[in-house]
Structure formats: C-alpha cells, structure tokens
C-alpha cells in the first residue's frame, strides 16, 4: 500500500433543503488513478468542488487531509497552491484568446508591471509538448477542436504544477479516438508519479484507466473497489451505482385507464441551432397514451430536453423534420403559442433560468402561460387571477405566506410546484415534465409524484424526462431510453430495471 495523498473524512454538505453530501469518505493513494462513479446528482461534482475550495471551508463539515496536513481552502487559489487542480466538465477556455494566454490566465508570467509574452509562449509550448500537442501556443482556442481543447486544459493544469489532477467527465464531449488519447495520457502521467481523480459515466473507460473506483450514491460513499482485489466489470459497477432499496418512495396509482394515443412523433430529427450540421435528435419515434406516464431515461446530453423542446412549438433547434400527431391528427406547430393552443405543455428542467420569473409574485407566474383566459378586452381581472393562484396553491399544497410572495423567495420544491401550477393552468392534455424533481428534497418529490398521479387520473398524458433511474422506474408505465440523440430502447415499466436501463445506455 502506497502513501495516502488525500483523505476526505466524513464530508457533509447541505444546500437549502437538500443534503448533497452525507458523511462521504474518500482515500486516494499517491500515484494512482482513482475513479468516482455514480448517477447524475449523486454528489460527485459537489465532492470535488468541496475539495478544490469552490465551496469554501466552513460551508461544509468534515476534514480534508492532503499530504498529511489538514487543509482549509477558502478559494480555488488555495487548493491550486497545494497542487490540486480541477478540470471542469464545461471547458473554461476563452475562445478568442490564444492557447498561451488561456494557459496562464490568472497566473501571468513576467513581472508585476508587465506580462513577459516571450516567456509565456515559450512555457506554454513546453507544456503543450508534454500533453502531446504540436500546435503553437499562439493559436487561438477557437481554431482547435474540442479534443485538443481538453488537452490544453490539462496542459494548463500542468502549468500550475499540479500534483493531484481532478477531471470531471473529461471525455463527455470527445469522440472515441480523442478519448483514448486522453486516457493514455493519464496513464503516462501516472507512470511519472501524477495522482488523478477522474469522474466519468463511461464505465468502459473507468475500467480501462482506474486503479480504484469509489461509488457514490445519493450523497454517500457506497464502496471502493480495488482493481487488484475486486471484480471491476461494468456490471459490477452498475450494481453498486444503482443498488438501492426501493421502498414506498412513490405513491400508488390506482387503476388509471390507459386510453388511445394522445401524442405521437415519427422520425423526429433536430439540428443544433448554432452548429447546424450537428444532429441533436436523430430519427426519434415515440408516443404517449391518455392516462399514461411515459418516462424517458438517459444521461445528460442525450438529447431528451432538445427532443421535448423541439416538439413544443419548435422552441429549440433548426431544420426540424418528422411528423407530429395529436389525437391521431397530424399537426404542424408553428410556435410555442400554437403548441399551447394545441394543449401541449413543456415544464422546463431549469426552473430558475427558463421557467419562472423569480422577481415576480406567485400569482403572476401562475397565470403567465394562459393570461388571456383572465382578460376581457386585454384588461386582466386581477381578482380572478388571485383566486386562480390561491386555488393552485391549495391544490398543490404550495407553502407560502401569500400568492403575492415573489417566487425567488420560495424553496426549490415550492418553486417547482408554482411551475407545475403555471402549466396546469394552461390546461394541457399532454405534459412534458423535464427533470420535475431536480434539486428538491424527498418530501417535496413525493408531493410532485402525487400531482403527476392526479394528472393522469384526470386523463392527461405525462412524459417524464428524468436522470434519476429510481424515479423513472417508480413512476412510469412505459420507459424509453435515449442516448446520443437516438432512442436506444423501449420497455414496459414492469419489466424494466435499473440494470437493464443502464446497460441499454452504456452498451448502445
């Protein structure tokens, strides 16, 4: 057993209403590649943010012991000084600056009074060679591909004299060749004594590079597998990731009659709005029946949100092709207003960014999508509006002092209820719920599930996009699995299991 470089002891981190990390322990030996795996939202990124000082000391409990000393990082700079460098999932490079400028951003070379550009570029070139890039460091970031940009990120980390390298999903946007090159680079660094922590969803890659694998689930460490001792096959890892008991976390749905097909799409293809050669949704066909809850499982970036938004009156994407049927009739939805008129609703995954107007009261948010039903000659009947908001507040059990309260002051769960109220008031037949329980606590989740049950009991159709497999399994009558823009599986709720869905995604 080698020397322990990093030890994180009983780390607990809470966000308002949610316990993101609960007593997490992690031990990393010097010179190893340690993989962190877990479902979306399990707490992997949060743990790494605690380690790198993005969440400063004091905002969590527990100890970080690095190189034998207890560390209290206040900001990223503190951890970087010790040689802990994190490379985030989203690339943090500035497109219109050169590689060299990016590499030494915040760490400029030269005297205090002036940057020494010759030194900057000479040093940058040196680190570029170390990661196997032959580009000049004067090249602009926008002129190199994503794969090379990821390598620049690593070179940037090396320039900070990294001893412990943390990579958060480094290969999520890379193709296979680039991914392989990056992983081999990590193995090469390991030979030279570098320690790395890698977060990844791609289990074949994890099996390929990792010496040890720590599985995190629901904010707790489940187990650490050692390559030399344990079985680290994909199936074994999946079992660790999803193996949780399913108790009554989901309310029972009583005898809902599943009727005719309410909405169907055939051969639906959508291209990215900016990079119009990129297919985001690729030939998807699916349907949902009256009174049915259909789950769409998949990893982040699988194209589920894009599918939903493009159906919802072309709210996303360009060159949308395919057919859309509502109650058996083919329709063309020109815009969002049209979609709402055809009784569709899309409840966004990003309630703060795209869903709610935080600086406005609950009642304004509740009525926004169907305000015209409250007006005569364009004048809003504010008394009626108040009643509507109150009505939904009662129905959904939203906890708030009054409906005059600004939405920004509510907890996540209550915000989600306001968002649901808004779309229920629009009176849709088909609701697409995108991550309806993201970032809210267990109690509020249960209430949201109850609302979904009430909706289908009233004959509505619900499409639920969720990255939480237990939720998909617990709520859906039927499940579609999506990966990289394609539908890669369909199964009935009864026969689906976490393992079957995960292997559908990972082996597609």
């Amino acid at each position: 057993m080698g020397k322990i470089l990093l030890e994180m002891k009983s780390i607990t981190k809470e966000f308002p209403g949610v316990k993101a990390l609960d007593n997490v322990n992690l031990q990393v030996e010097e010179g190893e590649i340690h993989a962190l795996v877990g479902e979306n939202g399990a707490g992997k990124s949060t743990l790494m943010n605690v380690l790198s000082g993005i969440y400063p000391f004091g905002s969590y409990t527990g100890d970080i012991v690095y190189n034998g000393e207890v560390c209290q990082f206040q900001k990223i700079k503190d951890s970087e000084e010790k040689g802990i460098v994190i490379i985030h999932q989203e690339l943090a490079l500035i497109p219109y600056m050169s590689i060299g400028e990016n590499m030494f951003l915040g760490n400029e070379q030269g005297r205090k009074s002036a940057i020494d550009w010759d030194k900057t570029y000479a040093e940058a070139d040196k680190y570029l060679r170390m990661v196997g890039l032959s580009e000049s460091s004067r090249t602009l970031i926008k002129d190199i591909g994503v794969g090379k940009q990821q390598l620049v990120e690593i070179a940037k980390a090396l320039a900070k004299h990294a001893k412990l390298l943390i990579l958060d999903e480094p290969t999520s946007s890379l193709n296979e060749t680039d991914s392989k090159a990056l992983l081999d680079l990590l193995l090469k660094f390991k030979q030279e004594g570098m320690t790395s922590i890698i977060i990844s969803h791609k289990l074949n890659e994890v099996s390929y590079v990792a010496d040890k694998i720590t599985v995190i689930r629901d904010g707790s460490t489940i187990e650490t597998l050692d390559k030399n001792v344990d079985d680290i096959s994909e199936d074994r890892i999946i079992k660790g990731m999803v193996g949780r008991e399913m108790t009554d976390r989901f309310p029972k749905r009583n005898d809902v009659h599943i009727g005719d097909i309410a909405m169907e799409v055939k051969d639906w293809t959508v291209y990215h709005p900016q990079f119009s050669e990129r297919k985001v949704v690729d030939g998807v066909s699916m349907n949902v029946r009256k009174g049915e809850v259909v789950g769409i499982a998949g990893l982040m970036g699988a194209g589920r949100t894009e599918l939903a938004m493009s159906i919802f009156g072309k709210a996303y994407g360009t060159n949308i092709s395919g057919q859309l049927f509502l109650n058996g009739q083919e329709v063309q939805l020109k815009n969002i207003k049209d979609a709402i008129k055809h009784k569709l609703a899309y409840v966004t995954e990003d309630r703060k960014g795209n869903g709610l107007i935080l600086s406005n009261p609950i009642k304004v948010n509740t009525t926004l999508a169907n305000l015209s039903s409250l007006t005569s000659h364009r004048v809003i009947d504010k008394d009626k509006e108040y009643l509507v908001a109150e009505d939904y507040r009662d129905k959904l059990k939203t906890k708030c002092p009054t409906v005059e309260q600004n939405v920004g002051n509510l907890s996540g769960g209550n915000q989600q209820k306001v968002l649901l109220a808004k779309w229920m008031f629009a009176n849709p037949d088909v609701l697409i719920l995108d991550e309806p329980t993201r970032g809210i606590d267990v109690g509020a989740k249960y209430e949201i599930y109850c609302i979904i049950n009430d909706l289908v009991a009233a004959g509505k159709s619900v499409i639920m996009i969720s990255s939480e497999l237990p939720e998909v399994l617990g709520m859906s009558d039927r499940i579609y699995v999506m990966n990289e823009g394609k539908m890669v599986g369909e199964m009935s709720g009864a026969e689906a299991s976490q393992e079957s869905i995960m292997s559908c995604i990972l082996k597609s």
Binding site: K337, L356, L358, N360, A369, L374, R378, I380
Partner: protein
C-alpha cells in the same frame, strides 16, 4: 403597526424625498418655490420629460434597454414638421400627421433592427443619436431655427385652458374657476375609485386594505390635487401641456398595470426566456417598445416646438438623458422588470423641482449638473441596497 408604518415609508421613499426637497427649496428661497408661477413653470418646462420618460419606461422594463436617439429625433422630426408648416405653408394638421408618420417609420425601423436583427439597443440608438441631429440640422440649410410656427399649433401645446366658468377676482387676484372645478372633479373620481376598489374587494371576500389606510390615501391624494388646482387657478389656469401629459400617463399607467400586454413588458425584463417559453412573442414586444418610443418622441417634439414656438437645431439636446434619469430616479430598474409610471412621474418631478429650486436660488448652471449627477447615482445606489436587503435567495 410600527412595521406597517415602516413599510409604507419604505415604499414611498421617493415621494417623501420629493416633499422634503420642495419644502427645503421653499425655505431657502423664502417661499418662492410654492408660488403659483412655479407650479406652472414646473409643468411647462418638464412636460417633454414626462412624455419621453413614459416611452423610456416601456423600453427599460424589457431589460434595461434604453433609447439614446430620442433627443436627436426630437430635433429632426421638429425640423421636418416646421418645414411642412412654415416653409411649405401647409395646414397644421398636415404637419402634425407628417411628423407622426415619420415617427412610426423610424420607430418601426429601430424596433425591427433591435428585436429581429438582435442589435443591442444602445448601439442601434447611438447610431440614431449621431445621425438624426446631423440630418435635422443639415435640412435647415444653415439657419439655427425655423419660425414662427402657426399660432394654432403653438397654442395647442403651450396655451392655457380658458376660464369657461368665469372665476371671481378676490383681493385683486383673478381666480381661474375651471381649474378649481377640474381639480374637484378629479379628486372625486380618485376618491370614488379608491373606495370602490376596496368595496369590490370586500364584497368578493378578498383581503383589502384597512379603512384607515384608504382614508389616509384619499386625504393625501385629494390634498395634492387641490393644491395643484388652487395654485394653477392663481397662475392663469390649466396649461394644455398638463392635459397632454396627464392623458399620456393615465393611458400608460393603465396599460402597464391593468392589461396582459403591459404585463409582458415586465415579465420579459424579469426573465425573457421564461416568457418566451410561455408562448409570448417576446420579439414583438421589443419591437412595440421601440415603435412606441418613437411615437411618444414625436409628441414630445410637439411640446418642445410649442414651447419655443420654433424648430431649433439644438432642440432635444440631452433629452434622452433627462428621460433615463427620470426613470432611474423614479425607481425603474436599470436591469428591467420593475418600475411604474407613478414612480417615473415622481422621479421626473423630483429632478424638475431640483432644477427649478436651484435656479431660483441662483446656483450656477454647472453646479446644477453636478447636483443632478449625484442625485442620480444616489437614487440607484439606494435602490440597489434597498433591494439587496430583501434580495432573491
């Protein structure tokens, strides 16, 4: 009870500041501030600000967007109107229509560039700021003004409402009876609306303000209206400029607070993407904001031309800044999404009072600018700090 009083004070800070500033100037100028002629001056000198700031408010609500070109457009559209009415000797109505049409064309162009081509508003309107005045002055062929404008035009915007009722002369002073009567009518309407609003709320079983607070509101509003009516009756009657301003602020106050259309301006400023995903055509709203701005700018040009009885090459200089200042001091958010017509009126009046008061005190014009700058910054800082306390979590 204490909390309630504090809340009322907090919500009406600017109003209280306005009253305090008026009293301060009245003290320092030994009572000159509250002379009838000053009330008249306050309205006629600032009428253009109220009109422009109303348009600016609609733009700012959509996300802190501003129109830098309105001052220059006042100049250009004035020159065009004067050319039609003075040089071509066309009837006044033709001149007015031509100006309005030019306004609609410019507004539609500006709105399209901003809403549909996605040019940042401050850049699109900066271009107008530079180009329009240049064009206007060029059209004047070297003259510094075009005058005299037809009398009927000037009177329509700067005259006073004749005393239809024949007021009494008391102690050698002519009282304008119309002014008093109009004041009483408006007071009655205001009180009626307030009481009726409360009554309907109670009848339908909603939470309503306490009777005391409604009565206090009635008394304050009636007192303010009657003070104005009384002073104006001594100053020769109601200026037409006030009627124009009143009509516009009443209409826009109604639109912004009562209609769905008005609400969309606020929701776009609060969260444009959420508004778009709720099925609202956000681009159209942006377009209309700037179209509306241009039309109101033409109205403002009417008032300006009427006041100077000419089209000047310098007309409208810094008007865009006056309008923005009025909005910002009046609590309109520089980031969009919040602000009211009433707040804007208080802001515009506060700046007008400060101008007037300092002039009466004989303070150097340059120092006046310094004071106005400080007031503007102070208002925004106050606003931000105040919001921070009850900030969104």
């Amino acid at each position: 009870m204490g909390d309630k009083v504090l809340k009322v004070l907090k919500e009406n800070t600017m109003l209280i500041v306005l009253v305090a500033v008026v009293l301060f100037f009245n003290f320092t100028t030994k009572g000159m501030m509250l002379q009838p002629s000053q009330f008249n001056a306050l309205i006629t000198q600032n009428a253009y600000v109220y009109v422009l700031a109303t348009g600016m408010l609609m733009c700012m609500l959509t996300g802190g967007n501003i129109d830098l070109s309105c001052g220059s457009f006042v100049c250009l559209v004035g020159v065009i109107g004067a050319k039609v009415m003075v040089e071509k000797q066309m009837p006044v109505i033709v001149g007015v229509l031509v100006m309005l049409i030019v306004g609609v064309i410019y507004g539609a162009l500006l709105g399209a560039i901003i809403a549909y081509v996605n040019i940042p508003p401050w850049i699109a309107t900066l271009a107008g700021f530079l180009a329009l005045r240049g064009w206007g002055v060029a059209l004047m062929n070297g003259a510094s003004n075009i005058s005299p404008l037809p009398v009927s035009f000037s009177t329509a915007f700067t005259g006073k409402l004749n005393d239809l009722l024949g007021g009494p002369v008391i102690g050698g002073v002519q009282y304008n009876m119309t002014s008093i009567v109009v004041g009483i009518i408006i007071s009655i309407v205001a009180v009626f609306l307030l009481l009726k609003g409360r009554a309907t709320k109670l009848k339908k079983g909603y939470q309503a303000d306490s009777l005391l607070s409604v009565v206090v509101k009635c008394v304050v509003i009636t007192a303010a209206i009657m003070l104005f009516a009384y002073k104006l009756s001594l100053a020769g009657g109601i200026p037409f400029a006030l009627l124009w301003v009143a009509a516009i602020v009443v209409i826009y106050s109604f639109i912004t607070s009562m209609t769905d259309f008005g609400r969309y301006f606020y929701t776009i400023g609060g969260n444009a993407e959420a508004t778009r995903l709720s099925g609202i055509d956000t681009k159209k709203i942006m377009f209309i904001a700037y179209l509306n701005m241009a039309v109101l700018t033409v109205v403002s040009a009417f008032l300006t031309m009427g006041r100077f009885q000419a089209a000047n090459s310098t007309a409208g200089t810094n008007y865009e800044m006056d309008a923005i200042s009025a909005c910002v001091v009046g609590g309109v958010s520089a980031y969009g999404g919040s602000g009211t017509v009433f707040g804007m009126i208080i802001g515009a009046t506060l700046i007008g009072v400060i101008n007037l008061g300092m002039s009466l005190m004989g303070i150097d014009a340059n120092w006046q600018k310094v004071v106005k700058g400080v007031v503007l910054l102070g208002a925004v800082v106050f606003e931000i700090l105040n919001n921070k306390k009850n900030a969104v979590k």
